[in-house]
Point group: C2
Chain length 158, copies 2
């Protein structure tokens, strides 16, 4: 599972760099589908990863509103802070943690129970799914998207 | 890893059912980004999963041209055939297979070497990425996309 997180972290960094070459207007433009803008989608995937993994760590996440991160560098900073807080947990992941239970209150106030392994995979699928949306929007504004390839990223080099 | 494949197979099936409610014209319409049409994208992710996993099994995949699958039911049939051929390998996956080497000739004729574990994750990221693209196109045509949530799918029920 760690390799998939490492893949996604690389891809996320590449998308931040991609954002440096795009106007703020395009980054914040409301678009069809997903979370509505390129920058908000990137904020959302950082935020959701941070929130769930904080939950698994039994910590209360300290989350800024989007308005405080609505520029590429501020979003990079937020992402770096979240990464520092959650990556030790992900690097320490082992199969014995798969079936631990997390109780979580959903948007309607109901309590739900999830396996830790379920949340880890949910986070991964969520991030990769949203990155797919960014690639469509990238073509809409006439720019080459970041490659989604997991191969040829050096992730499996010794 | 198996749970992520099971997630994706459920999502793929849901998208096939979603296609039943959309006109053929919309399904085949050329769109911006991704593989260019909804139906071709679905064909592509089935095809790429089938090709890579056949490679890992040392088998030569028997692949039809897209034109033979350019209807939802034909694509379902192709997907079912591929699934029958490759799912035993995925269900039999174990950590001892991670570092096996696959030699593969790329589009420019060069030979490349990949770890089996790298290819398995590449396939997963590839499928989820393309599904994210479908969700944007779904909104474009005014339809609710299939949820990308991995939680609440019963994948971790005993």
């Amino acid at each position: 599972m760690l390799k998939l997180f490492e893949y996604y972290w690389q891809v996320r960094k590449d998308w931040f760099d991609w954002c440096d070459l795009v106007t703020e207007k395009e980054l914040l433009k409301k678009r069809s589908g997903g979370q509505g803008s390129i920058l908000y989608t990137l904020f959302h995937i950082v935020d959701v990863e941070y929130s769930w993994i904080s939950d698994l760590q039994g910590k209360k996440p300290q989350k800024p509103p989007f308005e405080d991160c609505a520029h590429v560098q501020k979003l990079r900073d937020f992402s770096a802070r979240c990464h520092a807080e959650i990556s030790p947990f992900i690097y320490a992941w082992n199969s014995g943690m798969e079936t631990r239970n997390l109780s979580d209150q959903n948007e309607t106030g109901e309590w739900e129970s999830f396996k830790y392994g379920e949340i880890m995979r949910h986070v991964l699928a969520h991030e990769i799914h949203h990155i797919g949306q960014l690639s469509v929007w990238s073509r809409e504004i006439g720019k080459q998207p970041i490659t989604a390839n997991l191969i040829r990223r050096g992730l499996f080099d010794i």
